[in-house]
């Protein structure tokens, strides 16, 4: 995929996108929304003829100590074989424990033990898919005292051991850095450039915990200034990559989302025409 900017395909926009086929670099769907047989499926299959796709899983639970849920994995594999997206990703997190799914991207301690768990799960996922996957840095609200690696060190080592790629979410870096008192620009240093396969951008909210501001990754607003600024730094350091604008809460009119993607395209140094392949 060219280093263009695309949008997250959300169901309230489906009918409008299917009708108008707006110009955007690519469309990204959440795997877990397309494992049944809803009418949305057929629309996506038709859109696939006109757009490049990215499939972003949110429920594989790559950090689960019990390994991947095979029944769920079977369905994700079938979807990806059918849709043949350009990019496939999930998060550095866990959501399943003892057969219960918590619908949250839960944090891992960054230890050798956890690294081996994620390594085993990513290996297995890539074997089942027969392709490389991208692993995304999560938004963190807490850190574990016994972590021995930083998050970027953990991710870099994971790519070395499994050959997986990285999905760098600039908003998540800003959220994590603020909440864990880290330096976002320092976070960026030392990542393996060749492993970086995609960027994500989104808005976040400010809330408070114990009377102190905490950044919440709610995907509910335009991309913030701090995130644009860090994104500029990322692009300068690692170069352009396919970039997604995500919006989940308080979804705006499609035009607003497309406008955010155009701004991301400009930040990538991509000309509007190159980004408009689907017109």
């Amino acid at each position: 995929m060219q280093p263009v900017a695309g949008i997250g395909l959300r169901s309230p926009h489906l009918a409008e996108i299917a009708r108008d086929r707006p110009a955007t670099g690519f469309l990204e769907i959440h795997a877990e929304n397309y494992l049944g047989n809803s009418p949305a499926h057929r629309i996506v299959e038709r859109l696939r003829e006109d757009y490049e796709f990215s499939v972003h899983a949110v429920g594989l639970s790559l950090g689960s100590v019990d390994g991947l849920d095979e029944a769920h994995l079977d369905r994700v594999v079938a979807l990806i074989h059918r849709l043949e997206p350009t990019l496939v990703s999930d998060h550095l997190s866990w959501s399943l424990a003892d057969g219960r799914y918590f619908n949250d991207l839960l944090p891992l301690p960054y230890t050798e033990e956890a690294l081996q768990v994620v390594e085993r799960n990513v290996h297995h996922l890539q074997e089942r898919l027969g392709r490389r996957v991208l692993v995304e840095n999560p938004s963190c609200y807490l850190a574990f005292a016994h972590s021995t690696l930083s998050e970027p060190e953990f991710l870099a080592e994971l790519t070395r051991r499994t050959g997986c790629g990285l999905l760098l979410d600039a908003n998540n870096i800003v959220v994590t850095a603020h909440n864990l008192r880290l330096d976002a620009r320092a976070w960026l240093q030392g990542l393996p450039p060749a492993a970086i396969g995609q960027y994500h951008l989104a808005g976040h909210a400010v809330n408070d915990a114990d009377g102190e501001p905490v950044l919440i990754d709610d995907h509910g607003s335009r991309v913030g200034e701090g995130v644009w600024s860090l994104f500029g730094e990322i692009v300068r350091r690692y170069g352009p990559r396919p970039t997604l604008v995500e919006w989940d809460t308080d979804l705006p009119a499609l035009d607003v989302l497309l406008d955010e993607a155009r701004q991301a395209g400009r930040a990538l140094g991509v000309e509007a025409e190159a980004n408009a392949r689907a017109a």
Partner: protein
Amino acid sequence: MNPTRVAIASALAAALVLPAATSQAQGNMEKCYGIAKAGKNDCQTAKSSCAGTSKKDAQADAWVSVPKGACEKIVGGKLTAG
């Protein structure tokens, strides 16, 4: 085939040559969902995740909460006092 069977079978067969009642029958249907409801999984964090106190008792909350919605339009029947 006994006479009842014959009568039933021919009545059923008559359905196959009825003038197409399709549009009328489908007009009696209630469309319910719409494509906009297709996605429930996302990867955001709920904005108000910091709100509230440490411990919650859902059962206790439930008993102080009073249904307040379209139920006000549903009347009659053997209602037990809430």
